[in-house]
């Protein structure tokens, strides 16, 4: 996680700090790019967030296939991420520090399990489409784009399902088994292959955790950094012909 935060600092926080600083510098030279302040641009950027981040219309205009692929990855990843954070905070920390075990043993856990399996499935489907498209169908120049980070995320998602399947194979009487609609059937088919599922489940968990750590360490240095950078950059620059406004100010300063 240290590498993740270091990368986010180096490739995002420092960059945005620089952009804000350079724009303030320009303001001092009568070429102020933000007459009403950058914060007001962000406040009015909700339409950009809605059309470009949630609906992802620029991708839809380009290709319906790419739009479906990107939407599956985006919604699958973000939902899984939210469920994962919720399980960690409300489940693990809640049980450890406040004695609340609803999200670890009760119906809350069942709900989280179901949500994580579904969002994981959506993500896995989107990633598979993306990899197949990039490796076999896309133009030669574009085919390698993002393959490493997508491949890593694909392995991470697959190992997540296998970890759950191995765990269920080692615990056949798990009361929440029926909520794992992918891990459960997978475990039923795997259970005959070995007798030592407890050890295998531990190793699979270690593998999954290692890939997760690698993924988060690689994240800020990969094209996936756009998850943070694009909404911010586009909120500020995609309104009311921002580029032309800057040019107008330059020309005005030459009057």
């Amino acid at each position: 996680m240290n590498v993740f935060f270091l990368g986010i600092y180096k490739n995002l926080i420092v960059k945005i700090g620089y952009v804000l600083w350079i724009n303030t510098e320009s303001a001092d030279r009568n070429a102020r790019p933000f007459p009403t302040g950058w914060l007001s641009h962000l406040k009015t950027g909700y339409s950009t967030i809605f059309t470009q981040v949630f609906l992802q219309l620029p991708i839809k205009r380009k290709s319906n296939f790419l739009w479906i692929e990107h939407a599956l990855i985006f919604f699958g990843f973000s939902t899984l991420f939210v469920f994962d954070i919720f399980l960690t905070v409300a489940g693990h920390y809640g049980e450890r520090f406040f004695g609340i075990d609803y999200f670890m043993t009760g119906l809350g856990k069942a709900f989280l399990k179901l949500g994580m399996e579904f969002s994981g499935m959506v993500l896995f489907f989107g990633l598979t489409l993306g990899l197949v498209n990039r490796i076999f169908c896309a133009n030669v120049g574009k085919s390698a784009f993002n393959v490493k980070s997508l491949g890593l995320l694909w392995v991470l998602t697959l190992s997540g399902f296998l970890t759950e399947a191995f765990r269920l194979a080692s615990k056949p009487d798990d009361p929440l088994r029926s909520y794992s609609f992918i891990g459960g059937p997978l475990a039923e088919n795997l259970v005959f292959l070995s007798e030592n599922w407890t050890v295998l489940a531990d190793w699979m968990w270690i593998f999954h955790a290692t890939i997760a750590v690698l993924f988060f360490a690689y994240f800020p240095f990969s094209p996936l950094i756009h998850i943070f950078a694009s909404p911010l950059g586009r909120c500020v620059t995609q309104q009311a012909d921002y580029s032309m406004q800057k040019k107008q100010r330059i020309s005005k300063s030459l009057l």
Partner: protein
């Protein structure tokens, strides 16, 4: 390193937009949005009105803010020519470069990645750029910055005699004289 760039003479520009068209025609194969824009600004009220036409593209700044702002290091500066270009394979279209650029030069192309003036990279540097070649009033001049700053000085000295405003080398420090 010889830093190349543009000199734009606002006193000569008549706002005909021929440079915009020449840029699009020459770079049509790789350009999906306008890389060069002619902007017209008016100030004051009739009859005391003043206007200026400015033809702006990437100025290939000496200390390019877009390069420093890019989180993917997709923007690079050529060591031999000082030209600033975008590697479209690395670009993720986050638009931080446009946010940083004082001229609003980088544009989001239809492929979802940033595009900007490449200084007509397919042309030999000994030739004129497309925008410079077409300009009927020679308002755009390209070349090494050292050479362009000499032109600026000449224009300044000529115009001082006529009590007119001087030229500016945008993107390459405060060269207004």
């Amino acid at each position: 390193m010889a830093q190349y760039g543009f000199y734009f003479d606002k006193e000569k520009c008549i706002g005909c937009r021929a440079c915009e068209i020449a840029c699009q025609l020459w770079n049509g194969a790789v350009q999906t949005v306008k890389w060069r824009n002619v902007v017209m600004t008016y100030e004051g009220t009739f009859p005391e009105i003043s206007s200026v036409n400015v033809s702006l593209a990437c100025m290939h700044c000496a200390d390019a803010p877009c390069q420093k702002a890019c989180p993917r290091s997709a923007i690079s500066k050529d060591e031999m020519t000082g030209l600033v270009t975008v590697n479209q394979k690395s670009c993720v279209g986050c638009m931080l470069c446009l946010w940083a650029c004082p001229f609003g030069a980088p544009q989001l192309g239809i492929d979802g990645v940033m595009e900007k003036c490449t200084f007509c990279e397919e042309r030999p540097l000994s030739m004129k750029r497309a925008c410079e070649e077409i300009c009927p009033t020679q308002a755009i001049i390209t070349g090494p910055i050292a050479q362009l700053s000499e032109i600026v000085k000449q224009n300044v000295s000529q115009r001082l005699l006529l009590d007119e405003t001087s030229g500016t080398l945008l993107g390459h420090g405060d060269m207004k004289e």
